[in-house]
C-alpha cells in the first residue's frame, strides 16, 4: 500500500484531492431531467431542464462548449467570457435579471443553471409580425421597456455594462416578468485595471451598436446600453430592426474597420451627427470618415409613432447627453396611461391567442453534448404533460412546443463576438 501511495505522490500530488472532490460531486443529470434542447449560441448550448427536487422547477441550463483537442475534450482553460458571466451572475440579484441558480463544473464542461424564461423579445416580435400580423399593443410595449430599463438600471448602478442588449438576450417568464439575460459580454467598469477597449475590440451586435462605438470611441460607458434599448424599442414598435446594417468584418490584422453601412443606416433615420450637438465626435477615430457621409433629414417619427420624444432621447448622438436608465424610468411616458404592468401580458391574459407561444425545444442535434440519458426523445411527451400539469399552464399554443423536429436554428442575427 505504502508503495502505491509513494508512487502516486511524485507524479500527481493532487490525485487524492481530486478523488475526494469527484466523490462528493453531484452530477447535472442526478439533479435535473433534461427536457430538450433550446438553442445553440456563440459559447455553448442551452437546454430546458426540470429540477428533480420536490419543487420540480423549470430551468435553462447553458453548457459551455468544452474545448477539444482533436476529438477528445481536454482542459484548456476557462474562457474569459465564461469567467465573466459566472463571476457577475454570482454577485447580482434582481427581479429583471435572469437568476443564476447554480454552476456545475463537471467532466471538463461548465453548466450554468438559470431560472427558466418561457419567452424572449425576439419571439414576441416574431409572434406579432408573423402570426398575429399586428402591432404590439402599446401597453405591452411600454411594460416591456419599463421592466427592461428597470433591470438595466440595476446593472448600471452596480457598475456593470451589458454590452450585448438585443431582442434575443432579453427574456420574459411565463408570468410576464422581463429578465435580462446573457451576461457573456458584460463587464464591471468599477476601477478597471485596463481600459475597456483593450479587452474586447468589438462589442454589441452591429444593429444595436451605438454611434460612439461605430466611430471607434475608446472610452465608452453606460450610454452604449441605452442606445441598444432605443433600438430594441423601435424594433418592438415597428416589428423590424431599425438600423439593419451590414457589419464590416475585421481585417486579417484584426483592425476594426469603419462601419460605414451601419452608420449610413443610422443617418438615414436620424440624420448626421454634428459637432455642435456632439463636440466629442471630433475626437473619435472615424470622425473624418463620417464627415464625408451624406446628410439626411430626421424621420424618426415615421418609424415609431407613439413615444417619439422618449425614443429620440435614447437616440441622442452625444453619449454624455443621451438619456440614461434612471432618467428614462422617470420619463413622463411611464406616468401616462396605460401604466406599465407587473405582468407585461396583463392585457393579453383574457385572449390567450395574443400570448406568444411557449419556447420550442427540440431533440439535441449533438446528443454527445449531454449525458446519455438526457437525449431520449420518446420520454419527452410524457414530461411535457407532467410539466404542464405542474405549471398549471393556461397558454394555448402547445403545438409548436411539442414539435420535435430537429434543426430549429433559432435566429440568424449577427453576433457581436469574435473568436
Amino acid at each position: 500500500m505504502v508503495d502505491d501511495w509513494s508512487q502516486v505522490i511524485p507524479h500527481d500530488v493532487m490525485r487524492i484531492y481530486r478523488a475526494k472532490r469527484d466523490e462528493a460531486h453531484r452530477s447535472v443529470t442526478s439533479k435535473y431531467t433534461i427536457l430538450g434542447f433550446i438553442s445553440s449560441g456563440t459559447y455553448g448550448r442551452v437546454y430546458k431542464a426540470q429540477s428533480k427536487d420536490e419543487e420540480g422547477k423549470l430551468h435553462a441550463i447553458k453548457k459551455f462548449k468544452p474545448d477539444k483537442d482533436g476529438d477528445i475534450a481536454t482542459y484548456t482553460g476557462i474562457s474569459q467570457s465564461a469567467i465573466r458571466e459566472i463571476a457577475l451572475n454570482r454577485e447580482i440579484s434582481h427581479k429583471n435579471i435572469v437568476a443564476l441558480k447554480e454552476v456545475i463544473l463537471e467532466d471538463k464542461s461548465i453548466y450554468m443553471v438559470f431560472e427558466y424564461a418561457e419567452h424572449d423579445f425576439l419571439q414576441v416580435i416574431h409572434h406579432y409580425s408573423q402570426t398575429l400580423r399586428s402591432h404590439i399593443p402599446h401597453d405591452l410595449l411600454k411594460s416591456l421597456i419599463y421592466q427592461l430599463l428597470n433591470g438595466l438600471l440595476y446593472l448600471h448602478d452596480s457598475h456593470i455594462l451589458h454590452r450585448d442588449l438585443k431582442p434575443a438576450n432579453i427574456l420574459i417568464t411565463a408570468t410576464g416578468i422581463v429578465k435580462i439575460g446573457d451576461l457573456g459580454l458584460a463587464r464591471l467598469t468599477y476601477q478597471p485595471l485596463q481600459p475597456l477597449f483593450a479587452g474586447d475590440k468589438v462589442v454589441v451586435t452591429i444593429w444595436y451598436r451605438s454611434p460612439e462605438l461605430l466611430m471607434g470611441s475608446k472610452h465608452y460607458h453606460k450610454a452604449v446600453d441605452c442606445w441598444a434599448v432605443g433600438c430594441v424599442m423601435a424594433e418592438l414598435a415597428s416589428l423590424r430592426p431599425i438600423f439593419k446594417g451590414e457589419e464590416a468584418k475585421l481585417d486579417s490584422k484584426k483592425n476594426v474597420p469603419f462601419q460605414k453601412d451601419q452608420l449610413l443606416k443610422v443617418i438615414d433615420v436620424l440624420g448626421k451627427p454634428d459637432e455642435r450637438s456632439w463636440p466629442g465626435m471630433r475626437n473619435t477615430p472615424e470622425y473624418h470618415n463620417v464627415k464625408r457621409l451624406e446628410d439626411s433629414p430626421n424621420r424618426l417619427d415615421a418609424w415609431c409613432k407613439q413615444p417619439v420624444n422618449f425614443l429620440s432621447k435614447l437616440f441622442i448622438f452625444d453619449p454624455d447627453k443621451r438619456m440614461n436608465a434612471r432618467e428614462a424610468l422617470l420619463h413622463g411616458w411611464f406616468q401616462e396611461d396605460p401604466k406599465p404592468t407587473y405582468n407585461v401580458f396583463q392585457q393579453q391574459l383574457s385572449s390567450p391567442a395574443q400570448l406568444p407561444p411557449q419556447r420550442r425545444i427540440t431533440q439535441d442535434e449533438a446528443p454527445s453534448m449531454m449525458p446519455a440519458q438526457a437525449t431520449h426523445a420518446q420520454h419527452l411527451p410524457a414530461q411535457f404533460t407532467q410539466q404542464q400539469h405542474l405549471q398549471g399552464q393556461t397558454h394555448g399554443s402547445v403545438t409548436s412546443f411539442a414539435s420535435m423536429s430537429a434543426g430549429h436554428g433559432g435566429h440568424s442575427r449577427k453576433k457581436a463576438r469574435i473568436g
Partner: protein, 374 residues
Amino acid sequence: MATDFWASSHNKRWIVDRATLKQARAEDLQYVHSPDHIDLLNIYFANLIGMLGKKLSLRQRVIATATVFFRRFYVKNLYCETDPFIVIAACCYVAAKAEESPVHIKNVVSESRLMFSQEGYGVKNFPSDNSKLAEMEFYLVSDLECDLVVFHPYRTLLTLCGRESACALDTEAGEVGVGIDSGPRYWGTGEGRLELEEGPLQTAWFIINDTYRSEICLLYPPHMIAIAAIYLTLVLNDKTREAIQAQGAPVPPPRRSSRTTSGSAHRKSAPAQQQDFVGFMAGLRVSLPTVAMIAQEILSLYTLWGRYSDTPPESGLGGNGAGEHSGGDDVVTPAFLTQLLLRMREARLADLAHPASGQPVAVNKRLERTQAAG
C-alpha cells in the same frame, strides 16, 4: 454590486470566523512541530504568489485577488493533501481573468516552472503540461464556488486618503488603473477624509500588501483592514504619532519591522498643519476595538515574518533540516518550508495508507479506481 460590499459574495460567504480557520488547519497541524510553521507557510505561499504575479506582470490588485483565492481554497483543503504550488499557479491564472487582465496559460506554466524549480524553492515536479494547470483551474473555481469578485482594502484607502496623493501613488506604484473612481462608501456613516502625504499613504499601501501574508483577509471586511493600515501608519510615523499622543489617545508600542521601513523611508516632512487624527478615526463610525485588533494582528505578522528569510543563512538551516528542529525561533527559508511541506505530505500519505483505526481510508478505493482509469 461593485460598490455594495454588503450584498457581495465576499461578505456573504467568505468572511469566516476564527473557529472555522482553526478547523481548516487542524489536520495540517498534526504534521508540524510548531504551529508557527503553518503561519510561516502562509507567508511563504503569499510571497510566491507575489513573485509569480510580478513575473507575469500582474497588477497589485490581481496579485491580491489571487492570494485571496488561495486562502479561500485552503479554508476547504489541507496543505498536506494538496500541491500548493500548482494551486498558486491556478490562482494567478484565474485572478488575471477575473480582474479582466488575462495572461496566457502557457506563460503561467512556464513562469511557474522556472520560478519553482529554482534552487531556493526546490519544487521539482511542476507539470509542464497546460492541461494540468487548466484542470487545477477547474477544480479551483469549483471550490471557490464560482465567487470570483473580491473586494480589497486599497479602494477604501484611496477613498479615505485623498485623491491627489492617490494619483501620485498611481504613477509611482503603477497600481491604479485608468478612470479611477473612488465611488461611494459602502460602510460607516462618517464623512471624514484624511490628508495623507505621499510617504505615509505609501506606507499604508504597503501594510495592506503585507496583510495578505496572513489570514486577515478571510477574517475581516476589507474596509476594516484599510482603516487598521491607516491607523498603523499614523502610529508608526513619528510626527503623526506625537500628534496622536498629544491628543491623549493610547498608542501601541512602535514595533516597526524592517519590512515597513521600505515604505516609511519615502516619508517627507510631516504635514505642517495639525490634523485631528483621533477625531478622524472616531468619525469613521466603525468598531475601533476591531481596528485595534486587526492592527495587533498585523504587528504579530511582522514579528513572525522577521523569522522568514529569502536567503539561507550561512549556517544553512534550509535544505534537509525540515522536521529535525523543534521550531522555536529559528529563521526559516523557502527551501526549509518546501521540505517541511513534502514531509507533511509524506506523513499524511503514510497515515492514509495505515490509518490508526486499521481501516483503510475511504478515499483509497476511489483513488485506486482513478489510478486504474488514468
